[in-house]
Every structure is written in C-alpha cells, then in structure tokens.
Subunit: 270 residues, 2 copies
C-alpha cells in the first residue's frame, strides 16, 4: 500500500460515521469510543471541513445530537446528514404517504408527512418495534398496492451496541423485499445520492473527501463508489475478516478515529 | 396447452399441499376450503396413491393432523411429510445442536435433539415469536459460530390465513442470511431432497407423480424441478398474477382441489 502521505494527499473534507466511530450505542445511551471526543474536537479546530454522515434511523436528528453532546462531542444538528429528514423531503416531493415501520424515537421527523391512506412503506431501524405484527402490517400494506414502494433508511446488516451486535434495518428490508418480490429504494448510505448530498452540504468535491466508518460495505464501499476515499476504523462493528473483504478494500485501516485524525492532520491538505 | 388427458396420463401418485389447498389456517383453527374434505376422501378411495407434503412448521405433525381431522379430513400422521421431523433427523445425523427459532407449537418435534451449546440455528414459521429479541438472539448465535449453519424449514414468502396474508419463514430466513452473509439450508419445499423423500414414502417415481399446491414457486416450480408434474389451485395464497409468472408455468391451473381431483379421477392412470 502507498504511504499515508500519498493516500491522504489533497483531502479537504472529512465525513464521519457516528455509531461505531464516535460512540457505541446502548440502552443507557451508550459510551464514547476512547479518544473520539478529542479527535472530533481536533478535527474541527483544523482546516479540514467536517460533516457527520449517519444511517442512524432510530432517533431523530435532534435526539441523536443531544445524546452526543451529553457524551462530550462538539456537534450540532446542522452538521449532520441523517436519513429520516432526507426521506421526509423525498416523500413530500413525490406525493408519497408513508406507512411508517419505525422506532417511536424517529417518528417526529415525519410530522410534516401525510400518513393517511398510505401509498408506500418507510422502514427504519425500528429495534423492538420489529414485532411480527408490525412487520406483517407493513407487508400487507405493500401487497395491497398496485406499485408497491418500499423506502429503506439505510440497508445496514447490523450495528454494535455496548451489549453486543444488533440486527439493523437492512435485514428486515430484505425480509419485506423477498416476501413482496420487490426491491427497496435506499435513503442513506450506501446510496450515492445520500453521499452526494453530504458532500454538497460541505461544498467539497468527492475526490477531495474521505469517509471514516466502521462498515466496510456501507461506509467504505459506498463512499468509494462515489469517488471518495475511505478509511475503516477497527471499532464498532469492525471484524478482522473485513480487512480481507472479497470486494471492498479500504484506502486504509486504522485502530480508531483518534488514529485516523492523527494521520489526517499530519498528511491531508498538503 | 395439451388436453387434460395428455397432461395427466400415467399419474399414479398425488402429493397434496395442506395449507391453502385443504384449508386456510386462522386463529380459530381455520376452515376447510369448500369441496376439499370430499375431494381428499374421493382421492383416497381411488387407485391413486396420496401423500400430504407440507411446509407447515408452526405446529407439530400430530397437532396439524389432529386439527385437520377435526375439520373433517381423512388424514393420519403416517401420510404426512413435514419439515420439522425431517430436520430433527438431519440434526441428529450431522451432530448438530440447534438453537430453535420456532413456534412453541412445534418445539416438541425437537425433543430428541440436544439444544445445549448450540452449533446451528433452526428457523421455522415462528409467527408472533419472530420478535426483535428472538431474531437478534438467533443472529448473535450465528455470528459467534466459526462456520454458521442456518437450517430453514421451508422458504415460503407468505401464506394465507382467514384474516389475510401472513409473512412466512422465508422472509425471516432472508433477514438472517443477509445479516450474517450466509445461505440457509432448506428442509422442506422446494428442496429436491424433501420432494424425493415424499416420493420414496409413496413408492412412486417422479414422472408418475403430480403435486397440487397453491404456491407457484415452492410447490409447482419445486416439484417440476424434480421431474414431477404440478397443478396450481386458485385457492389459498394464489394470486391471478401467478398464472403469468415469469419463470414457472404449472402443468395446469384449477379452481380448487375438488376440480383437480375431478380431472385426476377422469384422466390419470390411463
């Protein structure tokens, strides 16, 4: 692999995944990954532009930012690209009235959407709300539509909480896709539109940007397909086998966000 | 299409799907599909051999047969090929200790299996037991195994109860396959081994047998891939679009089991 100086040359903007990079979630709210609070602070004091690009769809953006601030992170709502607000806009643009298969924590993001007489289903990381009854209701709504539209907030396989690995929305999206014989539209990583909207907010070109995430496919592979560079951290849901992934190779693997920021501050924007 | 006489010539054995062909299940136990009780009785009085080949995995074979007898069907346990007893045997042969993601109604079929320190997951139509917690537990068991083995009792997309369409095991199997990056082994239709075991029990060759089911892919397509003929009934989960399925074409479509038996008694074994 090329030297870090070469790999990070010309980087002007940094996209940070949140869960598994900044913190590990948990029933108690979760805990910061050691060194990440300081790493974010250092990054924001540097000349590099920073944006948070998350697939978190269990909490509203406001609640997520509130939690992270309580954990010590320097972060504000305006710096976060999150799938639920993005989906809410898309629904309005397309005249879609969603049946929401979502966690109560994120429901407020859809307050501006008409949910009567639904003509699509929006599925997010619903956690405990992924009951058989709720899944079956969403399935029945889709089966009654002539042209079933399923919008999935991300397609993550799983994420890591302090208590262990947890099934993410992507698994349940696959279940509905298979049952209905349809393909979901993804709002969130690894959708190219989603990465591009984050880049636009930063006013940085893809080739000047680097994604830092714990998901080899959703973060690293997705960002690379948009022309960005990407690092995988060995925190969160990282597993050693990720470094031998058959299809995706990160531009670098780092122990954690702190190490990524060390390298960026040393080598980027040169 | 050829005349029925040609299509049914030489049939000596009939495999009957149960749910959606004999009866529609429901919270109250369900109700027979009109004409099916008599159709089974006529078939059993004929020279044709009959076997019931089901993917029912929510009830033990004994409970299923008890329910069907109460609904008026002439059926006994020895005439039924069901996935749970088949899976129990396979587990024992291969030294597998299952973590069971199944409905309580079928748990007794695994009484002879060692479930301590599991080295595989068995997933069946668990219904309400498909909670997030139970799905996540099965996911975590698989992720902790070096060579994760997932055995799925059938891979049906959905079935019909008196209250409407219900998600079947296949949807949840897809969820675990996606989350873990693995492929499940199917015990049940449309697995060729499963059809072959039913044929063996009947002592009938594939080319002499016909499957009657409501599932265009699992029943019709699966049986045809084994060299059998297959009819689809327009009951149960049948949908008009099935008759224009892009990949599977039944050897005939009939309104219900009664019509299928009329045709068989008229044309088969000639």
């Amino acid at each position: 692999m090329a030297a870090w100086g070469e790999r990070l040359a010309g980087v002007r903007g940094v996209l940070l995944d949140i869960s598994g990079v900044l913190y590990d979630g948990g029933e108690d709210g979760g805990s910061p990954i050691p060194g990440s609070v300081e790493a974010v602070a250092r990054l924001k004091r540097s000349r590099l532009k920073v944006r948070f690009c998350t697939n978190e769809s269990q909490k509203s953006r406001g609640n997520l930012v509130g939690l992270l601030r309580r954990l010590g992170f320097d972060i504000s709502e305006g710096e976060v690209t999150a799938p639920a607000p993005a989906a809410s806009l898309i629904l309005k643009e397309r005249g879609l009235r969603p049946h929401l298969l979502v966690h109560d924590g994120v429901r407020s993001e859809f307050d501006q959407n008409d949910t009567s007489n639904p003509n699509c289903v929006v599925i997010a990381d619903a956690g405990e709300a992924f009951s058989y009854q709720n899944m079956n209701k969403a399935f029945q709504v889709l089966m009654e539509l002539e042209n079933p539209v399923l919008i999935s907030l991300g397609k993550g396989r799983y994420y890591k909480e302090t208590s262990g690995l947890m099934l993410d929305v992507g698994a349940y999206t696959k279940a509905l896709e298979y049952a209905c014989g349809i393909e979901a539209e993804v709002v969130g990583k690894p959708s190219p539109e989603y990465f591009r909207s984050a880049l636009k907010e930063m006013a940085v070109e893809a080739h000047e940007a680097i994604m830092i995430g714990d998901d080899i496919v959703g973060d690293v592979g997705g960002a690379q397909r948009c022309g960005m560079r990407a690092l995988q951290v060995r925190t969160g849901k990282f597993r050693p086998s990720d470094e031998r992934h058959p299809e995706v190779k990160a531009d670098g693997y780092v122990d954690n966000l702190a190490q990524a920021v060390d390298l960026l501050l040393q080598h980027a924007d040169k």
